[in-house]
């Protein structure tokens, strides 16, 4: 939804629209009361269409460039609840085998919508950090040296933020299976494939594993 009171300029535009709309409604009502009601309904529907249906433009597909030595493989891992998953750790181990690797694990600080809007995200960040620490420890025990960051609550934004400083050769997105994953429901993996031109691998971690 586009917020008509997001800024003074938006509120001013909304005021001009209101003046125009009510001029039409009053003019129509002077001709015939029911015509006024019809115009009011039409104008209201148009306003709803304008403010509720407006979608932000999709960002342009980002080119991801390899940074660092030629023989180095850079892997960016995005996961939240599945960070401790064995299949994810196995995939990272497999990718890191035999090459010089750089692994960055990003854990989005998922939060409730109300807390997100109120910017009350300390708890969410602390939980994400705890999951991240446990994952990094498990990877270190498996012989993979990785570093980690707590990212934006929006996984796509978290990937974009990480890519600004970490030119990944591969992006690994870890989720629960279809039906258990909010990210899959929101199309995070497909959107990431549209938005970033790096290799994107989707790992599914069964709940409880």
């Amino acid at each position: 939804m586009r917020n008509p009171f997001r800024s003074e300029a938006e509120a001013y535009r909304f005021l001009l629209l209101t003046i125009g709309a009510f001029t039409l409604i009053v003019a129509a009502a002077f001709v015939n009361r029911w015509l006024g009601v019809a115009v009011w309904l039409l104008v209201s529907a148009a306003a709803v269409q304008f403010y509720f249906r407006q979608r932000p433009e999709l960002p342009v597909r980002a080119h991801v460039e390899h940074v660092g030595p030629e023989d180095e493989r850079r892997i960016l891992v995005i996961a939240n609840e599945t960070l401790g998953g064995e299949s994810l750790r196995a995939l990272i181990r497999q990718r890191a085998e035999g090459v010089s690797e750089q692994v960055l694990v990003v854990c989005p600080a998922l939060n409730s919508p109300v807390r997100h809007w109120a910017s009350d995200e300390d708890g969410a960040r602390a939980q994400a950090q705890a999951r991240l620490d446990a994952c990094l420890e498990a990877l270190a025990q498996a012989g993979v040296q990785a570093r980690g960051e707590v990212g934006d609550a929006d996984p796509l934004q978290a990937i974009e933020d990480a890519l600004r400083t970490f030119g990944a050769d591969e992006i690994v997105i870890s989720t629960h299976p279809e039906g258990h994953s909010h990210w899959l429901e929101r199309g995070v993996v497909s959107h990431a494939r549209e938005r970033f031109d790096a290799t994107i691998t989707h790992v599914i971690v069964e709940p409880g594993l």
């Binding site: 003074e8 509120a11 001013y12 005021l15 209101t18 809007w117 960040r125």
Partner: protein
């Protein structure tokens, strides 16, 4: 000692809070306030339409013997709408670094807001009925009075902003207070257009 440690030691008070929301907390606060205000006006409009629908003489509106000063209220509407234009001009001026434009815009907006309130008081004094005269009078004074109270609050905000503007507090980059007061003022204007069209014209 590293520069980071040094900076951390010089910092007093709690650490800077993380902010997840893409919208500034102050603007979000004003938005939520306006949303609650819209609901408040909504309840008054519900009362108005209820009275109008159940009134047996609904074909003639306002019901006999009430008569509303449509022309005076129309002039008042024009004054209030114009004050929104000057408010927008004030904001545009400070965004370009023009402090004189900001001051002039705020002063004109306040003057027009005061004219609106004064005219409304004169209208109340000469309207010929009072709050206790049947349900129509009650909702009329309720709605227009509620709006008048909002104009008063808006004027208070604008006066504070004007004082700050005259003290040189705002620049092209830092004028958030005026922006928020501007949002509120436009909201008050929008509500008046709905109130005027509904009560006086339709």
């Amino acid at each position: 000692m590293s520069a980071h440690t040094e900076a951390a030691e010089q910092h007093h008070g709690p650490p800077t809070a993380h902010q997840s929301s893409r919208i500034d907390a102050r603007v979000l606060g004003m938005f939520l306030f306006i949303a609650s205000e819209a609901m408040l006006f909504g309840s008054f409009f519900t009362a108005y339409f209820f009275v109008r629908v159940v009134n047996p003489t609904a074909d003639a509106w306002p019901p006999h013997p009430f008569q509303l000063p449509v022309f005076v209220a129309g002039v008042n509407t024009a004054i209030l709408v114009t004050s929104s234009f000057t408010m927008h001009w004030a904001l545009q001026s400070i965004k370009r670094g023009n402090r004189s434009g900001l001051k002039a815009g705020l002063a004109l907006t306040i003057a027009m807001g005061l004219s609106f309130l004064l005219t409304q008081m004169i209208e109340y004094a000469h309207i010929g009925f009072n709050t206790g005269d049947r349900a129509f009078a009650g909702v009329f004074f309720g709605l227009t009075g509620l709006h008048g109270a909002h104009v008063f609050i808006g004027l208070t905000l604008l006066t504070v902003m004007a004082v700050r503007a005259f003290r040189g507090h705002f620049t092209a980059d830092h004028h958030h207070g005026v922006e928020i007061a501007g949002i509120y003022w436009h909201f008050v204007d929008i509500m008046w257009i709905v109130v005027y069209a509904t009560i006086y014209l339709l």
